[in-house]
Structures are given as structure tokens and as C-alpha cells.
């Protein structure tokens, strides 16, 4: 299973084995990684699953669709490499993915 590393704002690292086909958000929630709230359960309705994708992984994770982009505008401290993790689907090619979590969600 692909491994994803979530780095909390305080630097704590969590390496989880993620199932192919679930979202990066779900993999975090399933593995009790703190810092991803996912209030709407992945319905792209709340922007509380916001993550910063490590620059080395921007190509492989791809770009956000326009709707996600407009939601990211309202996330806490959005940056160029911001994504809503409920919109990134885990694939084999994402093995080793690193994402950082913002200080706050929503």
C-alpha cells in the first residue's frame, strides 16, 4: 500500500499506509492523524481538510479543479501548494507522498 507522510504544524510526522482509491483525507482520518477535520466527510463542502503538498509531489498530485481552487481561497492561510485532501485520490504513484498540515482548519 502506498505510504503517505503527514507532517503536523508542530513538526510531528505520521507515516500511514493508505488504501489505493480512498482520498488523502480519508487515509488521514482512518489512521487518526490529527489536524484534518473533514467536517463534511469529503463532500467538498467545508475546506477543513486543507493540506500543503510537498513541492516535490505537486506534479504527481496534479492541479485542483476550479471549484476546489475557489474553496481554497477561503481556507486558513492558503499557499501555492494548497489542496483539499478530500480531492486527492491515493494511487500507487503517490507512494511516498508528503503533505504538511496548516496550523488551523476552517
Amino acid at each position: 500500500m502506498p505510504k503517505i507522510t503527514y507532517i503536523e504544524h508542530n513538526g510531528t510526522e505520521h507515516v500511514v499506509e493508505a488504501q489505493v482509491g480512498v482520498s488523502v483525507m480519508e487515509a488521514a482520518v482512518k489512521n487518526m492523524v490529527p489536524g484534518i477535520d473533514a467536517d463534511c466527510g469529503g463532500a467538498c463542502a467545508c475546506a477543513t481538510c486543507h493540506v500543503y503538498v510537498d513541492p516535490a509531489w505537486l506534479d504527481k498530485t496534479g492541479k485542483a479543479e476550479p471549484m476546489e481552487e475557489s474553496m481554497l481561497d477561503f481556507a486558513y492561510q492558503p499557499k501555492e501548494n494548497s489542496r483539499l485532501s478530500c480531492q486527492i485520490t491515493v494511487r500507487a504513484e503517490l507512494d511516498g507522498l508528503i503533505v504538511r498540515l496548516p496550523e488551523f482548519q476552517g
Binding site: 463534511c40 466527510g41 467538498c44 463542502a45 471549484m67 474553496m71 481561497d73
Partner: protein, 405 residues
């Protein structure tokens, strides 16, 4: 005695309450009683992806299996509470057990309102609230049956969309003059009405159901005006009623659900309530509200959990809701009741627009269709009670982000 919190209800609010109680530093035991056999799960997919068969069952769970044991939460499923003995501070279950508490959270939810008409008990008449309900309804869609849906609220419309996707012949019966009348404005109703009809839904507004008929199972729906609609099954979505039987019997204050203050506390200082079953005073809207939404369940339970651990948190979030029908994402922030003006931004014909409900120059609510930016901006504007110039809002050149900051 050892500190022991009991939570009645293992749904969205119950699970959040347990999590927040633990996160606030509560080190006592937490016992959760859930009537359903499944651990806490998300209900929204039951009218959408899970009904359509495109979401695996294990993805419904709100928390991973290990969460409960890891957080010292004794999750007892298939256990229904029968009575709360407030003087002895214990909950009696239907199987005769007694669970002591020094703090109690009621998160019993709101089961669907049942129809009372002739034929309402016929096999083939479905409701939708639980995983079991959904699994009973799924074969109806798989057979591309003729489905009559009673009620054009969120549940009715979402199931209509799922059923059309599955190839069912769908008739929706609604007593009101427009769809989603209770929760949305005329522009949103008109937009959804048009889409459902374009997708082949036989939508009947102002239609009253007289009853169902059939030999051994439902075969037709009879309208009050006399028309007969042949069908293979019916799905009833006519609202939900708060589950308050335990609270009533225990003598707790009731007011459109279990009455709580703005800190989620009931009339008993050792008992809190959160989610679909509870009402609270809204500072934002100046009236008592009972909200049936995931967001309310989460936010109110966060407050309850924190306060059950000795906190002093007030519940003050902007209500919000969402509904997915076909490829339409409807997001609603706030409550529009009492609006004196409505401003439409964007173009309904392009299926991307928002309707802003104002009162005295302030935003009460926004319905956003495929426009999450407006939805998120609105949440901020509503919370801040920012005075808004309607002309400026209506001008497409106005940048919402600047209005929201």
C-alpha cells in the same frame, strides 16, 4: 465514584461528543450506547453514493475501528436506552442493564416522520435514515423500478436523483407549491425543479397523497385528487421528529426537541444534548432553533463535549447545509427566514450562482449552486454581521473576498 460519562446515541453528535470530551482532557470512562448495530457513521451518503452502490460500507464509518478502544470509549452497539433515572444518575437499557453516569450526553437524533395514511404499512413503503433502510432501498433502484417519492425535501430530491441515475421511473409528490420550500428560496426551487424535470422526474407539486394500495405489497399510490399512480415501491421523506421519549420521561425541559442553553446543557446540570434531537438559543438569529444537519451535530457536540469536561464554551456557529443532486452541489449557509431582500449573483442558466437573503442590509443566508466560494464567503459575512450594500453585492464585478474580510 470514578468519573464516567455516558453518551446515549452513537451517531454524528455522539461520536463527536466522545471525541471532544476526550480531547478536553476528560480522563474518566466514556460509555456510548448506540441503538443501531453499526458504529458511528455518516448518513449523507445513504441518499447518494452508498444508495447508488458506489461507496464501500467501511468508508461510511466516522472513525476507524481502533479509535474507540484507543480513547477509552466503551462503545456498546445494539443497545437501546429505556429510561434515564436522574436522581440515581444512571441510564437503564432495554436489556435491563444500568449504566451509571456523572455526566450524560443525549444524542438520540431524529428518526423519520411516519405517514399515517391507508396503506402506509404495506411492504414496499420505505423510509431512509439508517444503513439498514438504505440497504433495503438499494434493490428497488437496482431493479429500475417505478418509484413514488413522497416529499420534495432534501431526502426526496436526493433519492430522486439517485433513482433516475439507476433508471427508475420516478414520481415525486409534494404538498407545497415548490420543492425544498421549507429550506430554500424560490430561485433555488425553480432551478432544481427544472433540473429534475429535465432528468425525467415526474414532479407533482401541490399534490396530496391519499394512501397506498396493493395486495401484499404496494402496487399504487392514490392522490387526494383521485389520480392513481402505479408503482413498485415508495420512499417517504416528509421530515424528521426529534427522538425525545427518554427526555420527556425523565422530565427534562422540551422545546422543539430537548431544550439546551447556549452551552448545550439541558435543564439538568449533569445532562447535555446535541445534534438533531436538541434545540438551542441562536444568538445570531435571536430565536430557538433545532437544526437537522451534520454541521450542527458536530459543532454542538464539540461544545457539549468540552463543557462536560469542565469547559465554558458557547455554541455560536453559522448553520450550514449541503445537498448533492445529479452534478449539482447546493450549499446553504445560514437561515433565510425573515428576509426582506434577495440578491442573485451569477446566472442560474449557467448552473453556477448564489442567492443572498438579506434583512435590514445584513446577510441572513446564502444558497450557493456550484459556487463554493460564495458559500464560504457568506459564512464569514453572516457570522460577522457585516452590513452589505445590496447593489454592490449584485454587481458581478464586486470581489466577495473583499466583502468577507
Amino acid at each position: 465514584m470514578t468519573e464516567q460519562a455516558v453518551i446515549i446515541g452513537a451517531g454524528q453528535a455522539g461520536a463527536q461528543g466522545a471525541q471532544s470530551l476526550r480531547a478536553a482532557g476528560f480522563s474518566g470512562r466514556i460509555v456510548m450506547l448506540g441503538a443501531e448495530p453499526a458504529p458511528p457513521y455518516q448518513r449523507p451518503p445513504l441518499s447518494k453514493a452508498y444508495l447508488q452502490g458506489t461507496l464501500a460500507a467501511e468508508r461510511l464509518a466516522l472513525k476507524p475501528h481502533a479509535f474507540y478502544a484507543q480513547n477509552g470509549i466503551d462503545l456498546r452497539l445494539g443497545v437501546r436506552a429505556r429510561r434515564i433515572d436522574r436522581s440515581a444518575q444512571r441510564v437503564e437499557t432495554e436489556s435491563g442493564d444500568a449504566v451509571a453516569y456523572d455526566r450524560l450526553l443525549m444524542a438520540t437524533g431524529a428518526p423519520p416522520r411516519r405517514l399515517n395514511c391507508p396503506g402506509a404499512e404495506l411492504p414496499g413503503v420505505h423510509y431512509l435514515r439508517t444503513i439498514a433502510d438504505c440497504e433495503a432501498l438499494r434493490p428497488v433502484l437496482a431493479k429500475a423500478s417505478r418509484l413514488v417519492i413522497v416529499g420534495a425535501g432534501y431526502i426526496g430530491l436526493e433519492v430522486a436523483a439517485s433513482a433516475r441515475k439507476a433508471g427508475c421511473a420516478v414520481t415525486v409528490l409534494e404538498t407545497q407549491a415548490r420543492v425544498l420550500q421549507r429550506v430554500a428560496g424560490p430561485e433555488i426551487s425553480a432551478f432544481l425543479d427544472a433540473r429534475h424535470r429535465a432528468e425525467g422526474v415526474d414532479l407533482r407539486l401541490g399534490a396530496r397523497l391519499s394512501g397506498f394500495e396493493g395486495r401484499g405489497r404496494i402496487e399504487r399510490a392514490i392522490l387526494a385528487a383521485g389520480e392513481i399512480i402505479d408503482c413498485d415501491a415508495a420512499l417517504v421523506g416528509v421530515g424528521a421528529a426529534p427522538e425525545i421519549a427518554l427526555a420527556v420521561e425523565a422530565g427534562l425541559a422540551i422545546d422543539n426537541g430537548v431544550a439546551t442553553d447556549d452551552q448545550a446543557r439541558t435543564s439538568d446540570p449533569a445532562i447535555w444534548a446535541a445534534g438533531d434531537c436538541a434545540s438551542h438559543p441562536s444568538r445570531l438569529y435571536g430565536r430557538r432553533l433545532r437544526l437537522e444537519s451534520v454541521a450542527n451535530a458536530i459543532e454542538q457536540a464539540k461544545v457539549a463535549g468540552a463543557n462536560m469536561a469542565g469547559g465554558d464554551v458557547t455554541y455560536d456557529a453559522v448553520p450550514w447545509f449541503w445537498s448533492d443532486q445529479y452534478d449539482i452541489k447546493l450549499q446553504t449557509a445560514g437561515l433565510a427566514e425573515g428576509a426582506d431582500a434577495a440578491v442573485v449573483r451569477g446566472d442560474p442558466a449557467l448552473a453556477r450562482f448564489s442567492v443572498w437573503s438579506l434583512r435590514s442590509g445584513r446577510v441572513l443566508a446564502v444558497d450557493a449552486v456550484n459556487d463554493p466560494a460564495s458559500f464560504l464567503a457568506a459564512k464569514k459575512i453572516i457570522a460577522a454581521k457585516t452590513p452589505i450594500d445590496a447593489k454592490s453585492l449584485a454587481d458581478p464585478a464586486t470581489d466577495l473576498k473583499s466583502l468577507a474580510s
